[in-house]
């Protein structure tokens, strides 16, 4: 019998125990992987939505504070700025739903395409957006959800302006996950004036595309200097930092989740070590016999150690695979229930796979080494005495 076969045979000796231990390790590794996807998931979301050459210019006091619309023109003249677009939350509710179900903003149709080239809106549709005052460009997720197609007419009732606007869908953002809707700022401005209100003198954000990634900080400083000592001083930040601040207050949660991950890891190390020591205790006689037949301590240690390692690695790999399958399923079903929605963004990425497999190796190392070492070192005579 070769050593590898001996290890496998030993694992198969008490199948129930091997299965229970393997199952516990598998579940725990899966759990840890799922928990690890959360901080990674937040990072992935931010990387997906943000570009490193786009910056957000907003009032230093907060993102809901206004800045004068005229400031957008000044920003466009700043050296290094490729394009800039003034945007404002419209808070439009689709009539049939009665509440705001997707984010919608007023934008400047003539500038939006140059600031968001990565959104891949076809040039012809962008041209239509500029041609038709009542045009709107909608993300594919929202298009699918309501079964809209290009050319459809819809009505959005604003929750922040006292009016409703009739819109014509002229384009689509091809990203499957995009819920956004853009409409024309001028259209809203004229509609407000037509109803006797003051027009839109202000915006809440100006999004800026910077030509050279190395000059982003310089451009941000130049823009903020322009507004210094005005009634609306601006604070510029990169798109990534802008989105990061939305998730910033989740840090406490992430910490608790990491604590729980630590507890669960400790827990499986206990389970696996417990099993390994049981196996060793039961086989005390056999080990003593092997030793007296001439097998070295080294050989005994290696076989026992390998047993724990093989079990935890196999179980760990299964656990990682299960986590992968589960996040995939969550992604597929996230459309079904609002409670599942955000969970659908979490993905088992390569780093998570590596972390999960390393964790199972670590469990095997820690859980297997102590009992195997103890067993290999026990004096043969003593054990045989106990037995016979």
């Amino acid at each position: 019998m070769t050593y590898p076969r001996l290890v496998l045979a030993n694992l198969g000796r008490n199948k129930l125990r091997t299965a229970l231990t393997g199952g516990a390790i598998m579940l725990a590794v899966m759990l840890v992987c799922l928990l690890l996807t959360m901080p990674n998931g937040l990072d992935a979301i931010m990387n997906r939505v943000s570009s490193n050459t786009r910056i957000s210019v907003h009032n230093k006091a907060g993102i809901v504070y206004p800045i004068p619309y005229s400031f957008a023109r000044k920003v466009r003249q700043v050296d290094g700025v490729e394009a800039a677009v003034a945007t404002m939350w419209f808070g439009g509710a689709f009539e049939e739903e009665g509440k705001v179900t997707f984010p919608n903003f007023t934008v400047e149709p003539e500038h939006i395409g140059a600031v968001y080239p990565d959104y891949n809106v076809p040039a012809a549709q962008l041209a239509d957006f500029q041609r038709y005052r009542d045009g709107a460009i909608v993300g594919r997720q929202t298009m699918k959800r309501y079964g809209w197609k290009i050319g459809d007419r819809i009505t959005l009732r604003s929750t922040v302006f006292p009016l409703s606007l009739d819109l014509r869908i002229v384009g689509e953002m091809p990203n499957e996950g995009s819920p956004l809707l853009w409409l024309s700022r001028e259209y809203l401005d004229q509609a407000l004036k037509a109803r006797g209100f003051r027009g839109l003198g202000v915006v809440t954000s100006i999004w800026v595309k910077v030509r050279d990634p190395n000059r982003v900080n310089q451009v941000m400083r130049a823009i903020d200097d322009l507004s210094r000592n005005s009634s609306a001083e601006t604070g510029s930040e990169t798109e990534r930092s802008f989105f990061a601040s939305f998730f910033g207050s989740l840090q406490g949660f992430v910490k608790i989740i990491l604590i729980v991950t630590g507890l669960v890891t400790l827990c499986i190390i206990f389970i696996a070590a417990n099993t390994a020591s049981m196996a060793v205790r039961e086989r005390a006689t056999e080990i003593a016999v092997l030793r007296s037949m001439g097998f070295s301590r080294h050989a005994i240690f290696t076989t026992l150690f390998a047993e724990a390692l093989v079990l935890s690695t196999l179980a760990g790999v299964l656990g990682v695979a299960l986590a992968w399958a589960l996040t995939g399923a969550l992604r597929a079903f996230s459309g079904w229930s609002a409670a599942l929605g955000p969970l659908g963004s979490f993905m088992v990425t390569t780093p998570v796979v590596i972390q999960g497999v390393s964790l199972s190796l670590l469990i095997g190392l820690l859980a297997g080494s102590v009992p195997a070492y103890g067993a290999a070192r026990r004096p043969v005579v003593e054990v045989l005495h106990e037995v016979f």
Binding site: R17, Y65, A93
Partner: protein, 397 residues
């Protein structure tokens, strides 16, 4: 045949746990870690719920622009407020003024003490707001005086932001505000807010429409329903009126996916620990085959053996629970001490401060989890022990 099965004494099961203390402690340790992890997660959920859901008065209505869902993204025309404030059915105070509180919600940046930045919910109100929100009590200092640049801050805000302390100056929006009072609101999410004069806030934030919405107190519960219907059906203004308790319960739904997650974690960890417990018990059965055979030969029934092993497993999980509960209590205080309040983003994108508190109810649920681990992990081995044939058990044991 005996009419009643003689059970083994409970001390038999308990004493058995003591014969292999290392293994018992190891398994109890596994259960303890799972109990601790689950208790912390349960405490997180219940603390969140306490903060988000217990906010609000059942007799209050939240009136907002239709479809806005929360007061952070609603704007209300002045005319609507002017018309509705004198409607019948609104409760009145001692001076016969209607209990109606126009409010403006703005989310400015606040500097945190550690150099970060949060969106904080600043509520512009009139002094009448304290009568409409009776849970909100100024506990230190006094309520602000209108038009004098004063602010009162919630208990949760104090100590988290630069200048958020009694008597300090707080910088937000375009100016500085003097903190003249600190209020509490029974741990609800109002405590994560800053209140200032509504007109000063509208000026500072340059709002065209000065109010986000208003809150009113209905005189009776029939008036509540009547006012709600009348406000929502008035064709002049597109408004929605929600009972304040329902409004906050709805805001708390943003935490729902968190609950799904937490329950999922607890179930997975629980099953894993159940496997661990089953392992220990199977080994115990295996090690005591001869003993079981003897007991059966002495006349103890299968039920007696089954019960004895099941009790052993339950005792094991009880020990695990006791250790785990202790660990969770220590853990929760450590989290409170090391991290302070846990911040949570509500639907308004403003920061809510949640204090992690481990309640008795959380521990009770964790106890149920520990018992389930004991039952699930112990039944299989106990069943096997009960089914051992006495003769074979004696021979091979």
């Amino acid at each position: 045949m005996k009419s009643r099965a003689v059970l083994l004494p409970i001390s038999y099961s308990v004493r058995n746990l003591r014969t292999r203390p290392a293994r018992t402690l190891m398994t109890a340790g596994v259960i303890a870690l799972v109990v601790a992890a689950c208790s912390l997660l349960l405490a997180l959920i219940s603390s969140l719920k306490r903060t988000l859901v217990t906010t609000g008065e059942p007799m209050n209505l939240v009136v907002l622009r239709k479809g806005s869902g929360n007061d952070g993204s609603s704007m209300l025309p002045m005319a609507a407020f002017r018309a509705i404030r004198f409607w019948n059915g609104i409760a009145r105070d001692g001076l016969d003024r209607p209990l109606i509180s126009p409010e403006l919600v703005v989310q400015p940046f606040f500097r945190t003490l550690d150099g970060g930045r949060d969106n904080v919910l600043v509520r512009g109100v009139e002094p009448m707001a304290l009568a409409v929100h009776p849970d909100v009590r100024v506990v230190e200092g006094r309520m602000f005086t209108p038009s004098s640049g004063e602010a009162v801050v919630g208990r949760g805000v104090v100590g988290r932001y630069v200048g958020a302390a009694f008597g300090s100056e707080l910088q937000f929006g375009h100016r500085r505000w003097k903190v003249v009072g600190i209020f509490e609101a029974g741990g609800s999410s109002f405590e994560s807010e800053v209140w200032v004069d509504v007109r000063e806030l509208a000026n500072d934030a340059k709002r065209t429409w000065p109010y986000s919405g208003f809150r009113l107190r209905a005189a009776t519960s029939t008036d509540l329903g009547r006012l709600q219907r009348r406000i929502e059906s008035d064709p002049r203004f597109a408004l929605e009126a929600t009972a304040e308790t329902d409004y906050y319960a709805k805001q708390a739904e943003s935490a729902n996916s968190l609950y799904v997650l937490v329950i999922g974690i607890a179930v997975l960890a629980g099953i894993g620990a159940g496997f661990g417990a089953a392992n220990t018990m199977y080994a115990a059965v295996q090690a005591r085959r001869a003993e079981i055979g003897t007991l059966r030969a002495l006349g103890f029934s299968r039920v007696a053996i089954l019960t004895a092993f099941q009790i052993e497993a339950l005792a094991l999980s009880a020990v695990g629970f006791a250790m785990g509960a202790l660990l969770a209590v220590v853990g929760a205080s450590l989290v409170r001490w090391a991290l302070g309040n846990i911040t949570f983003n509500a639907a308004t994108f403003t920061t809510n401060m949640v204090t992690l508190r481990l309640s008795l109810a959380d521990l009770r649920s964790a106890f149920v989890i520990a018992l389930l681990i004991g039952v699930a992990g112990g039944f299989g081995p106990a069943w096997r022990a009960a089914r051992l044939r006495p003769v074979e058990a004696l021979r091979h044991g």
